[in-house]
């Protein structure tokens, strides 16, 4: 692991304080580093706190959410940065690619202006320069005829085109880190691979680090350098992409990989089968022990007593499971 991280998240927790009932801890003590130019994937079921993590990195959480811990970005501690400086950082240094491009583009603003707005917020360009830059960006994300796209409204574009616009927005100021929250979640399979290819190209050309969040192992395979597996608000395993896919250590990861491979063998047949027996725990009431214990096929006595600490069975591999130590 490289010494100088681009961003270093240490012991980050996010708690949603509802008006009534128990506060919900969506993200619970997550630590993660991303080096410059690195692509890190976060893999986990829906509801495991992935999107909350993305919001927390940009310090953009709904009111009522409380975050603790540290986020060190290029030597800057984001947790105690004033709002004005955070705003200057968002879109300029860390940019978010949102989940659903159909909802994330303003319906009454043309695509060109939407991208231009990001430039306008951060860079002192004239209107003409901005227009020129937007056209370059449109070419960069794969539009052949930027003139036409420039003056198109979001409803006139297809889902894939909209996601390219969202990527162009995020890339407009050449940020150091892209946070992509399920960037292909709402697209069909062929478009998914196009968007993933585009993101790889962006990393190659500009050296942008990418944190990509997905519930689908197939999206992350071959794209991300490292993968962190998340379960019920915590990271349970971290390893290189090859390691996670080749030799998953945590029982949860192993179960995920079995499903992924069974889906590949039965390609073409889309069936709704229970992914892993049981359900992930209600984030409102979480037991003392390992959170995967109720669904785990290899549980031991100790698993229900306390949460497994982080073990390093191999250098550069982290796993929270008692199979790898006591």
């Amino acid at each position: 692991m490289a010494r100088d991280h681009l961003i270093r998240v240490s012991d980050l927790s996010v708690t949603y304080c509802a008006d009534e009932g128990m506060p919900i801890r969506a993200v619970d003590g997550i630590s993660l580093e991303i080096s410059p130019q690195e692509i890190v994937g976060i893999l986990g079921e829906s509801g495991c706190g992935k999107s909350t993590l993305a919001g927390a990195l940009l310090r953009l959480l709904p009111p009522g959410a409380k975050s603790e811990g540290g986020i060190l970005f290029r030597g800057l501690e984001l947790m105690n940065l004033p709002e004005a400086e955070l705003r200057a950082l968002r879109g300029r240094e860390i940019a978010l690619i949102p989940q659903d491009p159909a909802l994330s583009l303003n319906p009454v603003i043309t695509a060109g202006v939407l991208i231009g707005e990001v430039l306008r917020a951060h860079l002192p360009l004239s209107a003409a320069e901005r227009r020129q830059r937007v056209k370059e960006l449109l070419c960069e994300v794969g539009f052949d005829r930027p003139e036409e796209i420039y003056s198109a409204y979001p409803h006139q574009l297809s889902g894939g085109q909209r996601q390219r616009i969202a990527i162009a927005q995020a890339m407009a100021c050449r940020p150091g880190l892209l946070v992509a929250d399920e960037p292909t979640g709402k697209l069909d399979a062929t478009l998914q691979s196009e968007i993933i290819e585009l993101l790889s190209k962006i990393r190659q050309q500009h050296g942008t680090a990418i944190l990509i969040i997905s519930h689908d192992p197939a999206i992350l395979a071959g794209f991300s350098d490292r993968i962190a597996v998340m379960y019920a608000g915590r990271i349970v395993e971290v390893g290189s992409s090859a390691e996670i896919f080749g030799r998953p250590l945590h029982p949860y990861t192993q179960a995920l990989m079995r499903i992924a491979s069974s889906m590949i063998t039965s390609a073409g047949v889309i069936s709704r089968f229970p992914a892993i027996a049981g359900e992930s725990p209600d984030p409102g009431c979480i037991a003392e022990g390992c959170r995967f214990e109720p669904r785990c096929s290899e549980r031991m006595d100790v698993c229900s007593q306390r949460y497994p600490q982080t073990f390093l069975p191999e250098p550069s591999r982290l796993v929270n499971c008692f199979k790898y130590g006591e």
């Binding site: 705003r87 909802l103 319906p107 995020a170």
Partner: protein, 325 residues
């Protein structure tokens, strides 16, 4: 273009429907203008029959409607029995006064409501927001009639403003400027009541539509790209929030003739309201129908104006017709 044409066609159909219903309902309503004459032994039934036939009321409904439509197309809305005068000029002389009152009130209402609603929404839960919400729910929960009578009583007791009519008895002797001031003083009370009641509704709608857009995913996304708060509000939120507000403005315009009826009657403003009320009570047939058609025309016109404004503001609506551009 298609869109505009379709809207125009629909407006025409609506006018035909409203007028037909008007005739049908007035036919079904019990009593007629001549009922009181019938009770008078000095007027012979023959005289009444002659009067009825001179107004064309002895004809069957279909014939009367056909004649009325034919005349209405030439801006002739029939004859008022009570005033013994053509309906159209009669209505227009009163409508002018109503329009003076309602346009003043409408303009001020919107000038207050939009900034106040936006302000309240952008500082949600703040002092302004809470004050606006509380005050508007208070005004909404009190009937307009009660507010009007209450304010009238206050004004009369404190003698701050002249009450009744739209100018003083000696106004002919005044200079132009003094005349204007005189009308304004008479206008103040009914206008204030209208503004109070309308603002409390519209400010809530404006606030709600701005709040809805502020919570939209694309506003969150824009915030995630570092837009400043003011830029976000004015460039990203307000153009979208304008859409429902413009529809609402259409309704406001539509109510220009009919919305002030209660206030006019209570304050004695010589507008359409008292005229139509009287005409309805005395069953002055064509005056009632004419008044309703006038209001319907404004209703349709108001909505049409709103539709046109929406085309300008919202590209999603424009889309329907844009391909023919």
């Amino acid at each position: 273009m298609n869109y505009i044409l379709r809207r125009l066609l629909r407006a025409m159909l609506l006018l035909v429907g409203v007028s037909a219903l008007c005739f049908l309902f007035t036919e079904m309503a019990p009593g007629s203008f001549f009922d009181e004459m019938r009770l008078n032994p000095q007027i012979s039934p023959e005289t009444i029959a002659a009067l009825r036939s001179s107004y064309g009321l002895d004809q069957p409904l279909a014939v009367r409607y056909a004649r009325w439509v034919n005349a209405a197309l030439r801006a002739d809305l029939g004859y008022s029995i009570a005033y013994n005068a053509p309906v159209a000029p009669l209505l227009w002389s009163r409508a002018k006064n109503t329009l003076l009152l309602t346009t003043c009130a409408l303009a001020i209402t919107w000038l207050i409501s939009v900034p106040l609603g936006v302000w309240a929404a952008s500082r949600r839960g703040g002092l302004v927001d809470r004050a606006v919400t509380l005050a508007s729910s208070f005004v909404i929960s009190v009937p307009e009639l009660v507010i009007a009578v209450g304010l009238l009583a206050l004004v009369v007791r404190w003698r701050i403003l002249p009450v009744g009519g739209m100018m003083s008895a000696d106004s002919d002797a005044l200079s132009m400027l003094a005349k204007l001031k005189d009308v304004a003083r008479h206008l103040a009370l009914p206008a204030f009541i209208l503004i109070l009641c309308e603002t409390s509704i519209i400010v809530r709608h404006v606030r709600a539509s701005v709040l809805e857009v502020l919570g939209a995913t694309y506003v969150q996304a824009a915030r995630g790209l570092g837009m400043s708060q003011s830029r976000l509000l004015f460039r990203h939120v307000l153009p979208v929030a304008a859409n429902p507000a413009i529809s609402l403005l259409g309704f406001s315009l539509a109510g220009l003739l009919s919305g002030s009826l209660i206030v006019e009657v209570v304050c004695g403003w010589p507008g359409l309201g008292p005229l139509i009320l009287e005409a309805t009570l005395s069953r002055d047939l064509y005056l009632v129908i004419g008044g309703i058609m006038f209001s319907a025309l404004f209703m349709i016109g108001g909505n049409f104006v709103a539709d046109m404004m929406l085309i300008v503001v919202d590209p999603r609506i424009r889309k329907e017709g844009v391909d023919a551009r």
